[in-house]
């Protein structure tokens, strides 16, 4: 309740600021979807949720460097509940003021925002700042309260603080150190219960030669004392049309899952580890045609070895107006777990006024699930641009799968994107 009041207060506070903006952009998507599911032995269920997404970006708030960015969504169910929650739902995804400095990529944000910085991938109510320093260094920091959406038993903490320092040599090297500390969460059970989450980590980007790039990320969980994640990616482009990549990742579940809020699903106490390695080769046959084949081998202590491999082709024709793709993947799971083939094809055409697309995906399972071993879905979409910045589109999809005898879904979508710029000359 108090958080709802805070959201409304934030919104009201922002209104006068918006009126003063010299450049106001409003964008949104309205979705009204219809779904009819039939599960063997159950009554047919009909759900009709309506969802509104709204984004507001106001630049030049009195000062050319100051801007405000808001984004949120709301939903009302017009028939049966579409989720296991209430008939209405909604959230302020983000809402922050941003000040950009003309030099040093300096930036200060205040409000609700996301942080993607080294070990941090966080949703925060607080402040953040970053700047490039002299001699190749850069520094960023944030602090505040982790955002808790409506989940009551979410175990996010009360305070979070984090940051990253990096050092760069132009087009050759970047090394970053980052850390975060979150207070008021519970960690692993096998380890002594700690009331915080703390990660420290490093990231590396290296370009030893103009054809070769290497990236790596490591995070160490100091609350549980172990390397949670390490991931490496090597990319080689021996010639312009060809690129070859290799990857390796390793996760220690005890440390990686430590701060989860569903321990039954992301259980950190099994002594489990996951690692995978693989590679991909992409060949650009001609500018509009690209083919990628990839392979990945997984090893998870408690389930065994799995493989995923396949290929996909993408075509971009008629000056990007026509896009098509075809793919096949095989997921080969260890004994006891089902394996499957995936086949997908799509075609999309966009013209000045119209867009149209078809998309088909099918899965063939080695072992039957509820008596069936196939699942497929066919989806068609057609759109009409009422005005350059207002588009109406409709999707219809039909599928059969082990869960539902047949599943029919329809959706009407209205997207708009308006820009109001005060004064001339811009």
């Amino acid at each position: 309740m108090s958080s709802l009041a805070a959201r409304i207060a934030l919104f009201l506070l922002s209104l006068p600021a918006l009126a003063g903006a010299a450049d106001l952009g409003v964008n949104g998507t309205t979705l009204v979807s219809f779904e009819q599911r039939s599960t063997p032995g159950f009554e047919r269920q009909r759900v009709i949720p309506a969802t509104q997404f709204l984004g507001i970006d106001a630049d030049h708030l009195g000062n050319p460097n100051l801007s405000l960015h808001l984004y949120g969504w709301g939903r009302v169910d017009l028939a049966d509940r579409s989720t296991d929650e209430k008939y209405t739902d909604g959230d302020l995804t983000y809402g922050y003021l941003r000040y950009l400095f003309p030099t040093a990529n300096g930036e200060v944000k205040a409000g609700r925002f996301f942080v993607f910085d080294g070990v941090s991938a966080e949703h925060v109510d607080g402040v953040s700042a970053r700047a490039d320093l002299a001699r190749g260094f850069a520094l960023s920091m944030y602090g505040g309260a982790p955002v808790r959406l409506d989940r009551a038993d979410d175990n996010k903490g009360d305070v979070i603080i984090g940051g990253r320092v990096s050092y760069r040599i132009p087009s050759l090297f970047e090394l970053g150190f980052s850390a975060l500390h979150e207070k008021g969460v519970t960690n692993g059970q096998t380890t002594d219960l700690k009331d915080h989450r703390q990660l420290v980590g490093g990231d590396l980007w290296l370009r030893p030669h103009k054809t070769t790039e290497f990236s790596g990320r490591i995070s160490y969980n100091t609350a549980t004392d172990g390397v949670a994640e390490q991931s490496y990616l090597l990319t080689v482009r021996p010639s312009a049309p060809l690129s070859v990549a290799g990857e390796y990742s390793r996760y220690r579940i005890k440390d990686y899952f430590a701060a989860t809020n569903i321990r039954s699903l992301f259980n950190p106490d099994t002594g489990d580890n996951v690692q995978y390695y693989g590679g991909s080769v992409t060949y650009v046959i001609a500018k509009p045609a690209e083919v990628t084949v990839s392979y990945r081998h997984y090893n998870r202590d408690i389930t065994g070895n799995s493989d995923r491999f396949g290929g996909e082709g993408r075509l971009t024709l008629l000056d990007n107006k026509c896009r098509a793709g075809l793919s096949y993947f095989r997921t080969e799971a260890p004994t006891g777990i089902n394996s499957y083939h995936e086949i997908r094809g799509y075609l999309l055409h966009t013209a000045a006024k119209y867009t149209a697309s078809v998309d088909t995906i099918a899965h063939l399972y080695d072992d039957k699930i509820f008596g069936k071993n196939t699942a497929f879905e066919v989806q068609g979409s057609a759109g009409y641009r009422l005005r350059p910045n207002l588009k109406l589109s409709g999707d219809l999809s039909y599928g059969q799968n082990p869960q539902f005898n047949d599943e029919l879904k329809g959706l009407v979508r209205l997207t708009f994107n308006y820009d109001f710029i005060k004064g001339a000359g811009k």
């Binding site: 108090s2 998507t29 969802t51 960015h69 984004y71 989720t83 296991d84 959230d91 995804t93 003309p102 030099t103 040093a104 300096g106 700042a129 700047a131 920091m141 505040g144 309260a145 009360d158 990253r164 760069r168 087009s171 970047e174 980007w205 370009r207 994640e229 990319t235 990549a245 579940i253 990686y256 701060a259 989860t260 809020n261 569903i262 699903l265 992301f266 992409t282 690209e290 990628t292 997984y298 389930t303 995923r308 993408r314 990007n320 896009r323 997921t331 777990i337 499957y340 799509y346 697309s357 998309d359 899965h363 699942a375 879905e377 989806q379 979409s381 999707d395 799968n401 869960q403 959706l411």
Partner: protein, 157 residues
């Protein structure tokens, strides 16, 4: 309630900014533009079609950020250290289409008119997730591990 808690981080950040400002250790290079100056349409962008050399401020070649299939699949390697660059073309809401927010609408439904996008969980994911989740639950953890899992606890209590 949160304001006293905010005081500490705010003062730390402000303190560091002041110290660095006073000791003239900021870079003097001009910043990246707030928004990419040229409109780039839908679909995969290849930076090196329009740019050469290195992005100032980012200090990496433009070609590093060509949106190839590999870049899109492995964008986590780039997003965590170049967020300012990403933000010059992408509003955070673009990322939120896939990086869930209690929304309970699959990206492939919200963007059902964009089959060319690399959207996760296409088709009947309810069946398939039981396999993918067992093979490697670490990827799932990124988006569903600490939040965005209200709909999961119906079955995963």
């Amino acid at each position: 309630m949160t304001f006293p808690k905010l005081f500490l981080p705010v003062s730390i950040v402000a303190g560091i900014m002041t110290i660095t400002a006073c000791s003239h250790i900021f870079s003097t290079e001009s910043s990246l533009p707030a928004a990419h100056p040229e409109a780039v349409g839908e679909g995969r962008v290849a930076c090196s079609e329009c740019h050469e050399d290195q992005i100032k401020g980012v200090l990496k070649p433009y070609a590093t950020f060509n949106h190839s299939q590999l870049f899109v699949k492995e964008h986590r390697f780039y997003a965590g250290s170049n967020d300012k660059l990403c933000a010059s073309c992408h509003a955070t809401s673009f990322c939120n289409d896939c990086h869930a927010n209690e929304l309970e609408i699959k990206p492939s439904i919200k963007l059902g008119d964009r089959p060319d996008r690399e959207l996760i969980h296409r088709g009947d994911y309810m069946t398939r997730h039981k396999i993918d989740g067992k093979i490697d639950p670490t990827s799932c953890f990124r988006c569903h591990g600490r939040a965005n899992n209200e709909q999961c606890i119906v079955c995963h209590k």
